[in-house]
């Protein structure tokens, strides 16, 4: 068994253990590759493609978060083709998703010169804020479908399987089964999903209320009935939206 692999990344010779991803090997050499869907703590799925790199001999760009190093590999992490690809990904995201509370992605946009108006005809992915429980809200207008929440709800942490993808293509959204309110699902409100969300699409309810200008005293003086009334009203308002979506 080979215990180390030698490759070059951006011309630098790098030694890594077999099974290491290009992303990790690059990080060990001080070369940072941008990521959105990747989280150290979750299984990598190469969904956002922001981490793509060029590998000599490979026809297409390679997602570095899942591609493993191999002997003699020659990797380039910031060629014109890579940069253009990353910029386009960021521009497409910005044209459809509300990234206002995703500072890391905004920083990448700045770094790559991405223009949020690049695709003026693009349809925004809009959905009402789901406020169906006392612990956290779900604002899927801000969701980039990174899948972290689904994974920590499943085998990456909790084994609860309360949420998954629903719909296809543009209609894809994170959802509970049959779009049931969270308390009626297997959700245990551990909030692992809230912790890994990169765009604040998932947010603790008290943080959300505080940001809306409620004072701590006002938040804490909401009675259970008031908290529930809000819940019902929002749910009632949502019905046409979710009904019309399919």
């Amino acid at each position: 068994m080979i215990d180390s692999i030698t490759l070059t990344i951006d011309g630098k010779p790098v030694i890594a253990a077999p099974g290491t991803t290009i992303l990790k090997a690059a990080a060990s050499a001080g070369i940072e590759i941008p990521t959105i869907c990747y989280h150290d703590y979750c299984t990598a799925n190469a969904l956002c493609r922001l981490c793509v790199v060029e590998v000599e001999g490979s026809r297409v760009l390679v997602p570095s978060c899942v591609a493993k190093v191999s002997e003699g590999m020659k990797v380039s992490t910031s060629t014109q083709r890579v940069i253009r690809s990353r910029r386009t990904i960021l521009e497409m995201l910005a044209s459809t998703v509300d990234l206002s509370e995703a500072p890391e992605i905004q920083a990448y946009m700045h770094e790559y010169g991405a223009q949020s108006e690049r695709f003026p005809e693009a349809e925004q992915r809009l959905s009402p804020v789901l406020d169906d429980n006392p612990m956290y809200i779900r604002d899927y207008s801000k969701c980039v479908l990174c899948w972290r929440c689904v994974q920590v709800c499943a085998e990456d942490a909790q084994y609860t399987h309360a949420i998954n993808f629903s719909g296809r293509g543009f209609e894809t959204q994170i959802s509970t089964f049959f779009e049931k309110p969270l308390p009626e699902t297997t959700c245990v409100f551990c909030g692992q999903c809230v912790a890994v969300c990169p765009t604040n699409a998932l947010k603790p309810k008290r943080q959300w209320l505080l940001e809306q200008g409620y004072s701590p005293d006002e938040i804490m003086s909401l009675t259970r009935t008031e908290r529930r009334r809000r819940m019902r009203r929002e749910t009632a308002a949502e019905q046409p939206a979710s009904g019309g979506k399919s």
């Binding site: 703590y41 612990m135 909790q158 409100f189 912790a195 505080l210 940001e211 804490m220 259970r224 908290r227």
Partner: protein, 720 residues
């Protein structure tokens, strides 16, 4: 609006897992809780209580000014006062002067045996150390106990008898190294959620096999290779039958038995009668399941046992725990990584409160009070004249309640506990509480017990003070002050020091036991001088990561697993067992067995979680009943039922579910509106004095909607 993001790292105040929390605050308002992914205990994972359940600290019902009852209370006519109008707001000075006067008056008139205190498994090590010190040093009594008596007392006693130590032998995360593990009497997924995640991963990712022995089909059964659905109270028979099979099939570890244990022959003889056939007749578990479980455990390379309150909370709790210990000794599954005897401790700091001597038979560090050398050691440490400390064993929690009366216990100082929810047979407890002459409650809310008090001393929550908690795998971790005290609330250790000085002045003690601390770190330094296991615990050493006790000196790295070379008592001792059943068997009048426990969203007596938005998720008591029993009793999902035992009666809604086995109903004990402990019985284990919460006989009958305390409180839930 962008929020400020001040972050303070601390330790979760709920269960014994001891997760690391990072509190995110704007001004003094915590709006988000996260956990670092490199945290040693929980790897960034939290449960609903840790992540969202902290909001009780801002609840507007919190009491933040000292209170004295308007109407003076008399023994026999003591009442509960929940409403603030029944109390008078006073200064700290007035409150503490009054407490000191009354306590000293009773002590002078009736002596040490009239004094008693409940320490608190939710408070810090430092708080508990000082409260037991105050009662021992000033009132010369060992009537000091806390809720460990009501949870793992029997596990502690059994482990002390068999191996000489009483804590989880191994680190929780070692479950990943188990080939086979047993969970019994523990609904781990709800009550130790983060350990349950590690268990699920051990099964799904590392190929471990799980055996669940439990009368309930708890969530972990979904991950189990074998589930042994025993009748409540039949643990001795089931586990002894497993030992019987292991003996007959020669799956035991002869080398380990020879080198590390004693009393094997007597044990082997006693196990002869526990055939699988016999165990089946007692427990209802099919004999083949018992044989299979024995083979699985007996053939494992690394096997561990995890248990919680379903084992100790019986009138024969000590025997139950000994049956588990016998299994581990028989197979040599102890003293190595990934093995062990692991009682999962309930409270965030029940291990610490026990270590701190908040118990009637032991000084801090499990040093017995009836041992002359120990007493002299503590007399020196606390500046007490030789012979000054009381050498008699004190009363346990349940015995304190029973001893209330004209010639018994006259006054009770309750720090943070809620005996009026957590004691068994609450009608009896209520009657006893009414007889007290003077009651002090030190808490953050007026709970069912605090409502009986003469004086209410407002303490701070865990987010408003510094200190340490010791978690279930013996890791001493920092608790940090994140926000200033609410209102005039004070840290428990400060209240105790202030009061102790007033008491010493009144009693004219020539030497002070020492109550001048600037910071809890100084208290910990003192603890290190009297508790050898804590000598290596100092605040600078645990600043980043907690250390697992024993830590024998300031260079000791801590102890991830115990008993590598030897047991504290020398050899591990086998205990021959006789079969034992629940004290109250079902009969014609009371045909069902009630077992009690907890749910994911709530904590014990509910003082914290029922003042949190957590209560929205689980707002009412529900009785779980098997569909077979439900059909027979004409009970449907959500319908109101009356549950009656020989001691009391409550009305609540039914939840018809396979989670409970036929003949058994389950009620969580968090809800004062339908307090399960009105039904339970106060029969206690003779050795550990722990009550039998886990089994009593009840009758269930349909009730009317109007009989429910709060018919409006309903929340549909889909979780298991």
């Amino acid at each position: 609006m962008t929020l400020n993001d001040r972050v303070v790292t601390t330790t979760c105040p709920f269960c014994g897992v001891g997760c690391t929390l990072q509190l995110h605050m704007q001004d003094d308002f915590i709006y988000r809780v996260t956990s670092p992914y490199d945290s040693v205990v929980n790897r960034g994972n939290l449960c609903v209580k840790g992540r969202f359940g902290y909001d009780f600290i801002y609840n507007q019902k919190r009491v933040t000014k000292p209170l004295i009852r308007r109407t003076p209370q008399k023994p026999g006519q003591r009442t509960q006062a929940f409403d603030l109008s029944e109390w008078r707001e006073v200064s700290w000075d007035e409150a503490l002067e009054y407490v000191a006067d009354r306590l000293v008056e009773i002590y002078r008139r009736n002596g040490s045996h009239a004094m008693a205190t409940y320490c608190c498994a939710k408070a810090t090590n430092e708080d508990n150390y000082l409260l037991e010190k105050m009662y021992r040093a000033i009132f010369r009594t060992n009537n000091v106990d806390h809720c460990t008596r009501l949870c793992h007392a029997a596990s502690v006693v059994a482990l002390q008898m068999a191996v000489g130590s009483s804590a989880m032998s191994n680190t929780a995360a070692e479950v990943a190294q188990n080939d086979v593990f047993i969970i019994t009497g523990s609904n781990t997924a709800e009550n130790h959620p983060i350990i349950a995640l590690q268990m699920k991963a051990a099964i799904q990712k590392h190929g471990a096999k799980l055996i669940v022995v439990d009368p309930r089909r708890v969530e972990m059964v979904n991950y189990a290779t074998l589930w042994l659905p025993e009748k409540p109270g039949s643990d001795v028979a089931v586990f002894s039958a497993m030992a019987h099979v292991i003996l007959k099939e020669k799956l035991y570890n002869q080398a380990f038995i020879d080198q590390r244990t004693e009393n094997f022959q007597a044990f082997a003889a006693s196990i002869e009668k526990f055939t699988p056939e016999y165990a089946e007749s007692v427990s209802g578990v099919e004999r083949n399941l018992i044989v299979e479980a024995a083979r699985l455990y007996g053939n494992a390379k690394n096997a561990a046992i995890y248990w919680s309150l379903g084992i100790p909370e019986h009138s024969h709790g000590t025997a139950n725990a000994l049956a588990l210990i016998n299994l581990a000794l028989l197979t040599g599954n102890i003293g190595r990584p990934g093995t062990g005897l692991n009682p999962l401790r309930g409270q965030n700091n029940v291990q610490g409160a026990s270590d701190m001597g908040a118990m009637p038979w032991h000084y801090p560090g499990y040093q017995r009070v009836d041992d002359e050398t120990n007493a002299r050691k503590f007399e020196q440490a606390w500046n007490i004249e030789p012979g000054g400390l009381n050498r008699e064993l004190g009363l346990t929690t349940t015995e304190i309640v029973s001893a209330i009366g004209p010639n018994g216990v006259r006054s009770l100082y309750i720090m943070g506990e809620n005996p009026m929810m957590s004691e068994p047979n609450l009608n009896h407890t209520r009657h006893k509480m009414e007889q007290l002459e003077f009651v002090v409650a030190q808490d953050i809310f007026i709970n069912e017990s605090g409502a009986f008090a003469d004086v209410f001393l407002p303490a701070v929550s865990w987010a408003e003070k510094d200190g340490t908690f010791t978690n279930t795998d013996r890791r001493v971790q920092r608790v940090r002050k994140a926000i200033p005290p609410r209102g005039e609330a004070r840290a428990d250790w400060q209240i105790i020091c202030d009061l102790a000085k007033r008491l010493e002045a009144r009693l004219g003690r020539p030497n002070s036991a020492g109550w001048d601390y600037q910071h809890p770190s100084e208290i910990m330094r003192e603890i290190g001088t009297v508790v050898p296991e804590y000598r290596g615990i100092t605040y600078p050493r645990i600043e980043q990561t907690g250390i697992q006790v024993p830590a024998w000196d300031e260079n000791h790295p801590g102890t991830p697993y115990l008993f590598a070379e030897t047991f504290p008592r020398g050899r591990g001792k086998f205990h021959p067992l006789e079969d034992a059943r629940m004290a109250e068997m079902p009969d014609e009048d009371y045909p069902l067995i009630l077992t009690t426990g907890r749910v994911l969203e709530h904590w014990h007596g509910g003082t914290l979680t029922r003042h949190s938005w957590l209560d929205d998720l689980f707002p009412e008591a529900l009785m779980e009943i098997n569909p077979a029993d439900a059909a027979r009793l004409k009970v449907v999902e959500g319908s109101p039922v009356r549950v009656t035992s020989r001691r009391g009666s409550i009305v609540l809604r039914a939840k018809v579910t396979q989670k409970t086995t036929p003949g058994v109903v389950f009620i969580p004990f968090h809800f004062h509106e339908a307090a399960a402990n009105l039904l339970t019985q106060d029969v206690i284990d003779p050795q550990a004095k722990i009550p039998e919460y886990k089994a009593c006989a009840v009758r269930v009958s349909p009730a009317r909607e109007e009989e429910l305390a709060n018919p409006e409180a309903r929340q549909v839930r889909g979780r298991y």
